[in-house]
């Protein structure tokens, strides 16, 4: 794929035959300048075959007039003086096209917005208009006809992360029969949501909610799910990415295993569960958790005796389906896709980073996620809220804004913690009618149409006590004798201390710890707070600055489930709007090019290109600009110390000759 | 209307020059002007530049002796930043400086001034130039000169970056160490350079000292000038190119003044002529009394002969022998005859070769410690070295950001300016009779200044 302009010499040797048209724009221009002088100015220039004024060039008559003029006078280049190019450049380019001229052989002179509308004195306005006109006439002689080339593209999509966001991207695309590769670094899909018990505000069962979606994903013909898989490398650009993904060995055949668990009994190695971290005990061969999908076992190399050198075959012998594959190895796959969606989700702030929360210093100080596991019927306590000693807690404290809304860690508000903390309190109340339940917060963030009702319900029915903090982190948690002490400063600045036997920390949502590596692989800069930067935070929040790379869910910023799903759908929509199977992709006609005869390969430009369009292929002495990725901003052209960048339409020569016209 | 004899341009020297001789009514020589029509203004346009750029910037004063300017400049920076170069750096600098003086002196002997005495002036078969010299002495010697200059310049390229323009000088050191494995090569070059230096003295012996014409000329008062002499000396008053104190002897050879770089302002002064861009230096202690010889005149001379006159010997054995022999033959110190500059120059070639040999075997030469980074904030720095054509002084003053505020440059040939004018006048008076001139006579006059190996680019800068 290369972009061939009509090479300059040929064009310049042709008679230029420039036509200059001045739009009177009713009185707007006609009455504000000496039209005759302008026409005289124009006619005075080499190659200008005629100059004319016309009432309203943008009117149907005006357009017809122009078309006719271009044809009848065999004009090769057109200058139109009138309103701002922002108004009608497109319009008039169309006219040129219709009249058989390349649309880029047009130059608009803005003598309305930037002249007659702001200059009262006719003489001054005329003088400026003449100068602007001179510039345009000198410039247009150097215009090159440009054509928008197209390239073929692939409409398949790679989705990274099979959480609720990624799954919904996949499903939305698959519904339109787009081929989707859904990769997930965990052995199972569904992400965080699949491991929640019930969801606010209506306390529906999370797994019941998402299970059908997971099922649909796993069984959809045009979705290929790759678990235990991570991105290794991504080359290319919108419509033409090549992604290499690395798949870890599972040592169990996905298609043969039905997760019957026969091998679990047989496996001699027990891996103890963790209370903190909310993990149940398991064997070396196991499924991550009951109900995990795909419901297929995997072997944990760190514990399996075979991988410690022993010759154990218990699982192999016990498997009724012959699904065990000891010889399976990690593998690399190359996927050809047109777009990539990053839906890698979030990590939760590690409260151990701040001593004030006493995390790790005492039993029974846990994070909300750990609490989430605790109340989960598939969790270590089958859903019972118990202390480390197996007793039910009598006094539970929920602490808000742990690691968020503080310059020390994360300035932002994660936006969802308040609601799930209310939910947790509610869940606790349902199990422990007599327990004392408190919340420590400095503000409550409860957006959304259902939240306030839920809050009122918790407030009124659940007998929760709220302590308001002076600042989000005006709190000190430490181990007491047989209990946990929480000292906090209230809004009056009074210091108060209370005792609890379980503390749940609502930790900030942070970008997934792997996101840096992924951003590196995708060559997309992360924003200051560690999340992906949007192409436009308001108007294009699902696109990254690199064309063809999109985000969904918490990879962009903290979100709750509905927003994650919504953004998943949005990403799918953007992709379907950009890539149509079998359709070719139009390129930016003003894309820059490198003159390989001049480029020294000094790489100055490469680092400047926001769109990563400039690359030096290995063992190539010079760089080249990918025509599909360049947006024609010309920053490289201004920076190249060799003058090796050929900027289209805004070439240095064109700008210089416009300058000469403006000042000369 | 006075008659004028004009030599334009004067030739076989670096830079631009014209001679205008004015004859009286009787055809006798009234006056002679030695004019230098070029000027660039380094002392102004280096202002505002960054101090650390000076060694590579000011060396462009002269493409023939850039190494000397590079050395003087970098020494001025050492002083400016008050930083002592490492031992290795000093050795590397001296090596390149000495090697450079070696090949530059050869350039003069074979290409520029030498032809005057190597190609007899009556000999019409050959032009007085390198091609004539080769014609006279044979292709072989030509090839050898070219070869050895090439190799010595190659050595400088190796040590300092470019055979012509060294770039390695930095305050407190140099940019690049000499790897131990290069030592053998350097030793070989030094060895062959020494052999060729002796060869040159032999040539001088046979072609010059045994040539009646030259010997007669050396006895003419036309080429004799009784002046003060200035040169840099080491602790034992022996000639030193790279570092030391400035010693001035009077026309009888007695020590007149001795001072360190920083004090040069108390000893030297320069005057301006409206008809030349070359300023004329003279001894402040004596003062300017016009173009006159003798103890009462502030005129002094620099360069090879002056260095030998102003010193008490040379630090290497073979050179010392030749040194003694020269003064023997010429009847004691100081020698005033300008044409003897040629001999003195070859003795310095010998000394340079021997010195190169010494440095080549110096352990410190290949020490990797080549730089000390300045820590002092800069103010004022003076750097002095002996350029092939004489004493060279760079003087910089900066702000605390090390941006040049003021600088003063006293460049080798400027020291000789007065002497050169007087030499031309004396030669003109001696050879022009009743206003009659011939190419031979003009050449005789030019020999009067050419022996100095003047560099006008330097002299005007």
């Amino acid at each position: 794929m290369q972009f061939e302009p009509v090479e300059a010499p040929k064009v310049f040797n042709m008679p230029q035959r420039i036509g200059v048209y001045i739009c009177e724009c009713g009185p707007n221009i006609k009455d504000a300048v000496e039209m005759a002088e302008l026409l005289e100015e124009a006619e005075g220039h080499k190659d200008v075959v005629l100059a004319q004024s016309f009432g309203f060039l943008c009117s149907p008559d005006g357009k017809e007039f122009l078309r006719e003029e271009i044809r009848s006078h065999k004009l090769r280049r057109i200058v139109i003086a009138g309103c701002s190019p922002k108004e009608h450049e497109r319009t008039f380019r169309e006219i040129l096209k219709e009249a058989g001229l390349n649309p880029f052989l047009l130059q608009i002179t803005n003598i309305r917005e930037q002249c007659t509308w702001v200059i009262q004195e006719k003489k001054v306005a005329t003088e400026k208009a003449r100068a602007l006109l001179r510039g345009s006439i000198k410039r247009v002689r150097l215009h090159e006809p440009l054509e928008a080339k197209t390239i073929e593209c692939c409409a398949d999509v790679l989705v990274v992360g099979a959480g609720v966001a990624g799954i919904n991207v996949a499903l939305a695309l698959a519904r339109k029969n787009r081929k989707v590769y859904l990769i997930e670094k965990e052995p199972c899909i569904g992400g965080r949501v699949a491991r929640h018990e019930d969801l606010y505000p209506d306390m529906v069962c999370a797994s019941c909610l998402i299970e059908p979606q997971l099922d649909a994903v796993l069984h959809h013909d045009s979705i290929e799910v790759l678990t235990l898989t991570q991105m290794a490398e991504v080359k290319g650009y919108l419509g033409n990415f090549v992604a290499s993904v690395r798949q870890k060995a599972r040592f169990v055949d996905l298609n043969a295993c039905i997760g019957c668990g026969a091998c679990f009994e047989a496996c001699p190695v027990s891996v103890p569960g963790l209370f903190m971290g909310g993990m149940a005990g398991r064997k070396a061969i196991h499924v991550p958790y009951a109900g995990a999908l795909p419901n297929v076992a995997l072997i944990d190399e760190d514990h399996c005796l075979r991988f410690q050198g022993a010759s154990c075959r218990s699982c192999l012998e016990s498997c009724p389906f012959g699904a065990i594959r000891y010889d399976e190895t990690d593998g690399i796959r190359e996927l050809k896709v047109g777009a990539v969606v990053v839906a890698t989700g979030f990590s939760s702030f590690d409260p151990g980073k701040d001593a004030r929360y006493g995390y790790g210093g005492a039993d029974n100080i846990i994070t909300s996620l750990e609490f989430e596991q605790l109340v989960n019927s598939t969790g270590p306590t089958e859903g019972k809220i118990l202390l480390a000693n197996g007793q039910p807690p009598r006094r539970i404290a929920f602490v808000h804004c742990v690691g968020s809304r503080t310059e020390k860690f994360n300035e932002y508000c994660s936006g969802v913690c308040c609601l799930y903390t209310l939910k947790h309190a509610h869940q606790a109340r349902l199990q422990l009618p007599e327990a004392g339940i408190c919340q420590f917060h400095s503000d409550l963030c409860l957006p959304g149409k259902e939240s306030q009702r839920f809050y009122r319900m918790v407030l009124t029915e659940d007998r929760i006590r709220f302590f308001r903090l002076l600042r989000p982190d005006a709190i000190e948690i430490r181990k007491g004798s047989g209990s946990i002490l929480i000292a906090h400063t209230d809004t009056q600045g009074e210091l108060e201390q209370n005792e609890f036997d379980m503390v749940v920390l609502a930790t900030a949502m942070e970008s997934d710890e792997g996101i840096g590596e992924i951003a590196g692989i995708l060559d997309v800069k992360l924003g200051e707070n560690g999340f992906f930067e949007e192409a436009d935070a308001r108007l294009d929040p699902v696109s990254t600055v690199r064309e063809g790379i999109f985000t969904a869910g918490c990879a962009q910023e903290p979100k709750d489930i509905p927003s994650s799903v919504a953004q998943g759908h949005a990403a799918a929509g953007r992709i379907m709007g950009k890539l149509e199977p079998g359709e070719r992709l139009p390129l930016e006609p003003m894309a820059c090019e490198i003159d390989p005869e001049t480029c020294s390969g000094c790489l100055v430009c490469e680092s400047l290109c926001t769109f990563k369009a400039i690359v030096r292929e290995d063992c190539e002495p010079t760089v080249s600009i990918n025509q599909a990725m360049c947006r024609g901003c010309g920053v490289c052209a201004a920076a190249c110390p060799s003058g090796a960048v050929i900027a289209r339409h805004f070439s240095t020569q064109a700008i210089l000759s416009e300058l000469r016209g403006l000042i000369g | 209307m006075t008659r004028r004899i004009i030599i334009d341009p004067i030739t076989r020297l670096e830079g631009h020059g014209k001679i205008e001789i004015r004859l009286g009514s009787g055809g006798q020589v009234d006056r002679a002007f030695f004019q230098v029509p070029d000027f660039r203004g380094f002392e102004k346009f280096c202002e505002g530049r960054a101090a650390e750029e000076m060694p590579t910037l000011t060396q462009k004063i002269c493409g023939v002796c850039p190494t000397a300017h590079h050395i003087a400049s970098v020494k001025a920076l050492d002083d400016l930043f008050d930083v002592e170069p490492t031992e290795a750096a000093k050795k590397i600098r001296e090596l390149m400086h000495t090697a450079f003086i070696y090949e530059d002196h050869l350039l003069h002997f074979f290409y520029l001034g030498g032809p005057d005495i190597l190609v007899g002036s009556d000999d019409k078969r050959f032009g007085k130039n390198i091609f004539g010299v080769i014609g006279k002495l044979g292709e072989r010697i030509g090839e050898e000169v070219i070869e050895i200059r090439k190799r010595v310049r190659g050595l400088n390229a190796l040590v300092s970056g470019s055979p012509l323009y060294p770039v390695c000088g930095l305050p407190g050191g140099v940019s690049k160490p000499v790897p131990e494995e290069e030592r053998i090569g350097i030793k070989e070059i030094a060895r062959d350079a020494l052999a060729f230096a002796r060869r040159c003295l032999k040539i001088f012996e046979e072609e010059v000292l045994e040539s009646r014409e030259y010997v007669d000329l050396t006895h003419l008062d036309a080429y004799s000038l009784e002046t003060y002499y200035m040169g840099m000396v080491d602790g034992n008053n022996r000639v030193s190119f790279y570092d030391g104190e400035i010693r001035i002897v009077d026309p009888e050879g007695g020590e007149f003044e001795k001072f360190g770089a920083i004090d040069y302002l108390h000893h030297l002064e320069e005057r301006v002529d409206t008809w030349s861009y070359m300023k004329t230096l003279y001894l402040k202690g004596v003062g300017w009394h016009g173009l006159r010889e003798g103890k009462e005149s502030g005129l002094y001379r620099v360069g090879p002969l002056a260095r030998l006159n102003a010193s008490e010997g040379l630090a290497t054995p073979l050179a010392q022998q030749e040194y003694e022999r020269m003064f023997d033959v010429c009847g004691g110190k100081p020698v005033h005859n300008t044409l003897v500059y040629h001999w003195a120059r070859l003795i310095e070639v010998l000394y340079a070769a021997e010195r190169m040999g010494e440095i080549a075997v110096d352990d410190q030469l290949t020490d990797p410690e080549i730089r000390n980074i300045p820590v002092q904030s800069p103010r004022k720095g003076v750097g002095i070295c002996e350029a092939p054509r004489g004493t060279l002084i760079h003087h910089y003053e900066t702000d605390e950001a090390a941006i040049l505020k003021r600088l003063n440059l006293l460049v080798a040939t400027q020291n000789n300016a007065g002497a050169i004018s007087l030499s031309v006048l004396k030669a003109a008076r001696a050879f022009i009779k009743e206003g009659r001139v011939s190419d031979l006579i003009l050449n005789r006059i030019e020999m009067g200044y050419r022996a100095y190996d003047p560099c006008m680019a330097c002299a005007t800068h």
């Binding site: 701002s84 190019p85 922002k86 803005n110 309305r112 917005e113 930037q114 002249c115 509308w117 702001v118 200059i119 004195e121 001054v124 306005a125 003088e127 400026k128 100068a131 602007l132 510039g135 600055v545 003003m590 400047l608 926001t610 769109f611 947006r631 024609g632 901003c633 010309g634 920053v635 052209a637 201004a638 920076a639 900027a647 805004f650 240095t652 700008i655 210089l656 416009e658 300058l659 000469r660 403006l662 000042i663 000369g664 | 505002g48």
Partner: protein, 136 residues
């Protein structure tokens, strides 16, 4: 050389500042537009230092480069690339005898005709005081 009407070259980026200049027009702002000579580029980062130097060589009395507000660049960082060149360019101009009243980089957002009129007006005023560069 009083009373000379300064001519100022204004480089405007297609996406923001050019729009801002148009906005000044739509709002019929009062400012010395007659002294300005606008020239459109796609991005302020496209303004090659050569263009600025050439503008002065040709006799411009002042040069304005106006880009998008920080963070709003249509090409993400083009305006920052432009900004990075400014301090060195200012000093080069100074060393060539062109003082910094004659050269300014700033941002004007698409709607901000007010700011455009102000910035341009200020430079014209400053330069009216100084007369033409060619006689400075």
């Amino acid at each position: 050389m009083q009373g000379v009407e300064p001519k100022i070259i204004v480089f405007l980026c297609h996406w923001c500042s050019y729009e801002g200049a148009d906005a000044a027009g739509r709002g019929r702002k009062e400012f010395p537009s007659g002294n300005l000579r606008e020239i459109r580029v796609m991005c302020s980062g496209r303004v090659d230092p050569r263009l600025v130097l050439e503008a002065f060589r040709l006799g411009a009395d002042g040069v304005l480069i106006l880009g998008c507000a920080p963070g709003d660049c249509h090409y993400k960082r083009g305006n920052i690339q432009a900004l990075k060149r400014i301090p060195l360019l200012e000093r080069i101009l100074q060393q060539n005898g062109i003082n910094n009243d004659r050269f300014k980089f700033d941002s004007v957002s698409a709607g901000d005709g007010e700011k455009y009129a102000r910035i341009a007006g200020e430079m014209v005023e400053r330069l009216r005081g100084q007369g033409s560069k060619n006689h400075a």
